[in-house]
Symmetry: C2
Subunit: 212 residues, 2 copies
DNA sequence: ATTAATATGTGAAAAATGTCACGACATTTC
DNA sequence: GAAATGTCGTGACATTTTTCACATATTAAT
């Protein structure tokens, strides 16, 4: 639990920095300034410098940041040297897309198991990820602590309860339901309809030229 | 452009309120207090009252809010009386999931066209949504101003340019790329890998019991 | 060597967001 | 109809996040 002085807003940007540093490194770039990085990730350069400064002095004045060093630093900060296994609950359209979509190319998080309520799907696998029945959560989840929830909204609360009982403490919730969990469980909501609606709202009600 | 005094944080919550008010209304509930709503949407009740207050005095002391009235108010505020058409660019796994996933049940936003680079898909439709070729953006996009971007990351910037030229001013970007657009175009990023990584980071580095 | 250019790290200010707590008023109860 | 209860709307305050702007150090150029 070490450094919990890092602002949440900063913490949410770390994976983003990490990904772009990886890109830069693969391109063979040796150094990068906060200004350059800013243009790539679309975050103000002062914000980037401030974010980095929470971890100490990572750069060099007049030079910028050493890509390899910074990458290594974030790799360990984000625990990317070890693989984190997550489970996917609900192998419907969206869930299946996540299993097929290898959006995990640049990081060490892997979806290693999936669960579904449909016995037709149970026993099969999608892109190598085995599908179990949701009733098998307790036996099969083992020590997976983080799950991606892509079940129908009506099932969300019910399944969430079971997940919590099975020891899960992190849920990435893609259902429109706002699930109820004990306070030791962290839920991040990604609400596709809300995102789209709020984008439309901003377009209609906010002057253009203003940024998110 | 009327009321741009509403804080962005508030604006982002409006669609959420709207959805839950819809639920309550369908359940036949006539009144709701900020406390009840708070439990449903998991937003502090004081925050809810403050949010609502930006629009004037919508409630009644000692009573709460009239569900039907509030719903009507938000319906017009969110322009839900008219249908907003959006296009989907990239009918791959994720894009197809969005087309099939009717996450638009409770609102008036419709995906009416899709575009893909694969000629095999062009001419077919997914759940009634016709698929055109990305080269046909100019002819077929017509006056669609908002798009959901689910193309491969490598194509993101290239396609974004074309979209902007075709008159799009709102992009919901699901690619890991941070696209570059003129300042009159609004982009909201939903970065699945980043969301998952930051959830994992929070779990490892922040004391439990703390909320997002 | 000297100068010019570059770019960090941060104190301080500003802006944005969230929360507390209470006066005022409406509703409900007795 | 009086008292008790419930709940809004908001001023004041607290917290979080962003941004400015510059002293300081490093590099690059001449």
């Amino acid at each position: 639990m070490e450094q919990n002085k890092i602002p949440q807003a900063t913490a949410k940007r770390l994976p983003l920095y990490y990904r772009f540093l990886n890109n830069l490194n693969q391109q063979g770039k040796k150094r990068v300034s906060s200004k350059e990085l800013s243009e790539a990730v679309k975050v103000d350069s002062a914000t980037i410098r401030r974010d980095f400064s929470y971890f100490g002095a990572l750069g060099k004045k007049g030079y910028g940041y050493n890509v390899e060093y910074l990458l290594g630093f974030f790799r360990s900060t984000l625990d990317q040297h070890e693989v984190t296994e997550v489970a996917l609950i609900g192998a419907g359209n969206l869930g299946t897309a996540f299993l097929k979509y290898s959006f995990m190319k640049n990081n060490n998080i892997r979806i290693t198991k999936a669960f579904d309520a449909d016995w037709e799907k149970v026993g099969t696998d999608i892109d190598g990820v085995p599908i179990y029945h949701v009733d098998q959560l307790f036996e099969k989840l083992e020590d997976t602590k983080v799950v991606i929830l892509t079940v129908p909204a009506t099932e969300a609360d019910n399944i969430a309860d079971k997940l919590v009982q099975a020891g899960v403490n992190g849920i990435l919730n893609f259902t429109p339901a706002r699930i109820t969990v004990p306070s030791h469980v962290r839920v991040h909501h990604i609400d596709l309809a809300v995102e789209l609606q709020s984008l439309v709202y901003f377009l209609k009600h906010y002057p253009l030229d203003t940024k998110e």
